[in-house]
């Protein structure tokens, strides 16, 4: 890297949605921004489910959805509760989601991020690919730059934005994240992109044109472990995956690929995939620590954004929007710091405040106890799904038994399996943890 490149206003480590959002907004304001990305091109190492939300993305690049390489706009959202042999499905479709400017899109990150990188470059930022950020360069407790994997690859700037993902070495080495991520605060997600003809996807998901559907799958989808599965429609492929807490994988001794194959073989899932051809197999860690897993968000000369800051709302499978919004807030904080020429921890803590006043903190706060609750209540991933599906089966089976007798049977079967007061506590607890 040539000498004149070594000093920047801002270094962004990682060309994911959080980093690029910050870089784009800062470059637009005329700051001298460098984005350091370890992949061949922005997107080549990036993985998500993935759903991209329109409004938060438009906060970065207005009208992006008219040009960006998107897959389908989501018109229907489904949730399936699976047992070994059955599925209970709930779904919601709304015409409002089928109309411009849309609510959300499925995307393939390698394609979308590549496009976004072009916008970031056009805004004036420098993107350097094939370069790993290894650690922060510190002066005392100040972050003054980053050391990259290139020879003579030290870079300096007023501010470093750590957008280096869930494994953030920057946040850790700058002391913002004290501990290693506990096994029950990260989920390993594996995913396949499965090619299917457009028309088949449109028939199977009852959509036309670029309309799409998302399905989240629970319980037996993850073999009863705390986690979720998903099936998202792309233009001519499906993104099919599942993620569970590492602590669960460890305890059960289950291999992620087996887990995914188990889900794919479920009698309610298989018909959706029939005839498909796997195109790619991907893995990604998802930060599930929520509010309690969040590191310190800023320090002197550094801000942490997106996955690096553990900003994921797993209840609503939201991540990219938290990432992009945190990138926007980081840009705002940097711009203010730049104006005041003050990059101290105190000045940059404006970022913390923006996060705290936004839906990001509020939602993480709302669901702060959810993950822990479900970890300690495995019955929500096996017993209750089973009771639900067997109750449906009983009520739908026509065999000369009166409906009232069936209800009585369902009731007593449930009571035999769990004491009523325990059930009451379970559901009260579940309600408390998400309401």
């Amino acid at each position: 890297m040539s000498d004149q490149l070594e000093r920047f206003d801002v270094i962004v480590a990682g060309a994911g949605p959080a980093g690029m959002s910050a870089a784009y907004l800062l470059a637009k304001e005329g700051l001298n921004v460098i984005v350091v990305e370890r992949g061949d091109f922005p997107g080549s190492k990036n993985v998500m489910g993935g759903v991209l939300y329109r409004q938060p993305t438009e906060q970065i690049i207005p009208g992006f959805w008219r040009e960006a390489p998107l897959e389908r706009h989501v018109v229907e959202t489904q949730a399936w509760v699976l047992t070994e042999k059955a599925a209970f499905k709930a779904a919601h479709r709304h015409e409002a989601f089928a109309q411009e400017p849309y609510n959300s899109f499925t995307v393939l990150r390698a394609r979308f991020d590549k496009w976004m990188a072009q916008q970031v470059r056009a805004a004036g930022a420098l993107i350097v690919p094939e370069t790993v950020v290894e650690e922060p360069i510190m002066e005392g407790d100040k972050v003054v730059g980053v050391r990259t994997g290139r020879p003579d690859g030290d870079l300096y700037a007023d501010v470093v934005i750590a957008a280096d993902g869930v494994n953030s070495l920057l946040a850790q080495k700058a002391g913002l994240r004290k501990k290693e991520i506990p096994k029950n605060e990260a989920a390993l997600a594996v995913k396949e992109v499965i090619a299917l003809p457009r028309e088949v996807i449109e028939d199977r998901f009852q959509v036309s044109g670029d309309q799409g559907v998302t399905i989240e799958l629970y319980a037996e989808a993850t073999w009863g472990m705390v986690g979720t599965g998903f099936i998202y429609t792309n233009k001519d492929s499906l993104s099919v995956g599942c993620g569970v807490l590492i602590s669960e994988l460890v305890e059960r001794g289950i291999t992620p690929n087996d887990l995914l194959e188990h889900m794919k073989a479920h009698p309610a899932v298989a018909p959706l995939l029939e005839g498909g051809e796997t195109r790619e197999y991907l893995a990604h860690l998802i930060p599930e620590g929520g509010l309690y897993g969040m590191p310190k968000l800023s320090t002197h000369g550094m801000l942490v954004v997106g996955d690096a800051a553990m900003l994921v709302n797993s209840m609503h499978r939201e991540g990219s929007n938290l990432a992009m919004t945190s990138g926007k807030f980081a840009a705002q904080a940097v711009l203010r710091a730049k104006e005041w020429n003050d990059f101290s921890a105190e000045s940059l803590s404006y970022y913390d405040q923006l996060i705290r006043d936004s839906f990001i903190y509020k939602d993480l706060y709302k669901y702060r106890n959810m993950s822990r609750f479900f970890e300690t209540h495995p019955e929500f991933f096996s017993l209750y799904p089973d009771l639900l599906n067997e109750a449906c089966r009983e009520m739908l089976t026509v065999d000369g038994v009166s409906k009232r007798a069936k209800q009585r049977k369902i009731f007593w079967d449930a009571l035999r399996k769990r004491m009523p007061w325990r059930m009451a506590l379970d559901f009260y607890g579940a309600w408390r943890s998400i309401a």
Binding site: R38, G39, D40, G43, S44, K45, N46, V47, M48, G50, L108, R109, A110, R111, F112, D113, P129, E130, T131, V132, E134, T148, G149, R150, V166, N167, I181, P182, K183, A186, L188, E192, V193, I194, S237, I246, L249, V250, G253, I254, T255, P256, N257, E261, K264, A265, A270, L273, E274, G275, G276, E277, T278, R279, E280, Y281, L282, A283, H284, L285
Partner: protein, 94 residues
């Protein structure tokens, strides 16, 4: 749909493997004591295999998720880093 083996799936991905592994077992002796050897099953691509009384690291198919690092945190016996810039997996879809 046709079920693929893990190996077949990895052939579908684009990789540019480095000469040397970016993942290094610090002390194989420690792995011998390790009861669970979680790395041998939590890794989504089966990078770590217990062969001939030691852990062999098949880093070429690594998807760089970081799962092994978390799994090995009790032993702290893994030197974990990303592949060098430009190496490793190259997703086409993401």
């Amino acid at each position: 749909m046709k079920k693929l083996t893990l190996e077949q799936k990895l052939f579908l991905n684009g990789f540019r493997p480095d000469q040397e592994s970016h993942l290094r077992i610090i002390d194989q002796e420690k792995c011998k004591q390790c009861e669970l050897r979680q790395c041998t099953y939590v890794c989504p691509v089966n990078t770590y295999r217990w062969e001939n009384g030691q852990i062999t690291v098949f880093f070429e198919g690594c998807l760089e998720c970081g799962c092994c690092r978390i799994a090995c945190q009790d032993c702290q016996n893994l030197e974990w880093r990303y592949p060098r810039g430009g190496y490793g997996v190259n997703y086409r879809t993401g």
